[in-house]
Amino acid sequence: MTSSDVTLYHWEPNANSGKPMLTLIEKGVAFNSHYLDLLSFDQHKPEYLAINPMGTIPAMTHGGRLLNESTAMMEYVEEAFPGPSMMPDDPVDRWRVRWWMKYLDQWLCPSFSMIGWSIFIGPQVRARDPEELKAAIDRIPLPERRTAWRKAIYGLFSEEELAESTRRVMLGIAKLEEALGQREYLGSDQYSLADINCFNSAYGLPSMQPDDVNDAKTPNIMRWLRAVARRPAVRETWTYSRVPRFAERIIPLIEEAA
């Protein structure tokens, strides 16, 4: 199979959608881009469910085969295509890369999203027609995703849950700073899938939490963010953005790092 057999179904080039996209671009793999508007619930429409029955974004097809689960997709892209290696050679370093991806996917990034949804995205989505929203939720195929979307759309997070997410974000920032003080990149001294994973959720920290993430308090995070932002592949992913409010958070970092 050749690389032109690859189609990536994605939303904005950040968070989960950005993970396989940046990996593909770093590896030099050509792909067809299929943009889905997450906030219009394109991912739960029949034409997409015919491709990815889980109704999750991102997904990828390579030849006739479907792949989902963004972190597992990144490892697939790394192993299935030639190009620069996005995993270190040492088995212990490889373990650390995978450990960080799980810590991000399951512990830290859900807290970022909970705060992001409660402050920015939820209020906007709630401005839509209530009947349309209810129908959109009813179309979600996975029951656990239906629960998560209901919480996000109607802002059903308790004060305790939001406080816990804030605690996790602050602890996560401190642990990232420590880890990046020990090594040049997140999992090892080599740029890897862990950096791709983390950057796609962390690039907005200096603009969204300037009192917590800055050159004085978190010099290692700032050094690392600039090092990743300088990569041509990162700039290229943002050519796939259609929502200015997302691009506005990263373009200053990319310009400044360059």
């Binding site: 212990v92 490889r94 399951q106």
Partner: protein
């Protein structure tokens, strides 16, 4: 390079790691610890940020060249990387993706449910038998605040009706998915892999708690026997120090906060 493994009883994540180690053929010094008495958080076991904050909760710790490693699936990947060709992971990239996506589902969706049910049934009585001072002294070194909360909840025996129902539903979903997956094959990925060990380690102990989830599933029953018959799994079972090793759980992964 010298490997040192601190492991709990052969159930849950410790069973996966012990059996994966034996599958890999690598040599390690084995040190049994009592995970339910928080022995991972003090004494001889080396501390590391990645162990203290393991998303898996309490599990084995493999020490290699000064790095203490946690999380059974990734320790399994390490063993496969360190002993290429040992068969813990398929070599084809798509088959590997399938295996990692399966394991992700197992650790993110099934394990929190199985751990919640196992702990409330088997760990709560052990912790409740401790007096307050002994318990507090035992959990004091736990660095992760949310893991410490799960320890306290386990001792108190708190599991909401909603979480119990969700946990049982995940176990039922897992046994059905395994039964369906095994149509026309002996192992979950076709050939034997780490996915069989990880899935067995979380699902098999549920036979004692939710027997109906296993009823009328002949392929699941045959697979459970097939996994148990593997020499690596037999050797892992032989590490047991207690009468009911399958019940020797300790606070595990949290139930997803997003539902």
């Amino acid at each position: 390079m010298a490997l040192t493994l601190y492991h709990g009883e052969p159930t849950g994540p410790s069973l996966t790691v012990l059996a994966a180690l034996f599958e890999s053929g690598l040599q390690a010094d084995l040190h049994p610890i009592d995970l339910a008495m928080a022995e991972r958080h003090g004494g001889a076991v080396p501390r590391a940020f990645e162990v203290d904050y393991s998303v898996e909760g309490e599990g084995s710790v493999l020490v290699v060249g000064g790095q203490a490693m946690s999380d059974s699936v990734f320790i399994g990947c390490y063993l496969d990387d360190a002993a290429p060709g040992c068969g813990l992971r398929p070599t084809d990239p798509y088959a590997r993706w399938e295996m990692m996506a399966w394991c992700r589902w197992m650790i993110e969706r099934v394990a929190p449910g199985a751990a919640a049910l196992a702990n409330i049934a088997w760990t709560t009585p052990r912790l409740a038998a401790l007096d307050d001072a002994s318990f507090e002294q035992m959990v004091a070194p736990i660095a992760s605040q949310d893991l410490a909360v799960r320890w306290r909840d386990t001792r108190a025996g708190s599991l909401s009706d909603e979480h119990r129902a969700a946990s049982e539903a995940r176990v039922r979903e897992a046994t059905q998915k395994i039964e369906d997956r095994l149509e026309g094959r002996d192992w979950l990925m076709g050939a034997f892999s780490l996915a069989d060990l990880e899935s067995y380690a979380w699902v098999a102990p549920m036979r004692d708690l939710l027997p109906d989830a296993f009823a009328d599933k002949p392929r699941l029953a045959a697979w459970l026997e097939r996994v148990e018959a593997r020499p690596s799994v037999q050797r892992a079972f032989a590490q047991a120090r207690s009468a009911e090793p399958a019940h020797a759980f300790a606070p595990g992964p949290e139930i997803n906060r997003w539902g």
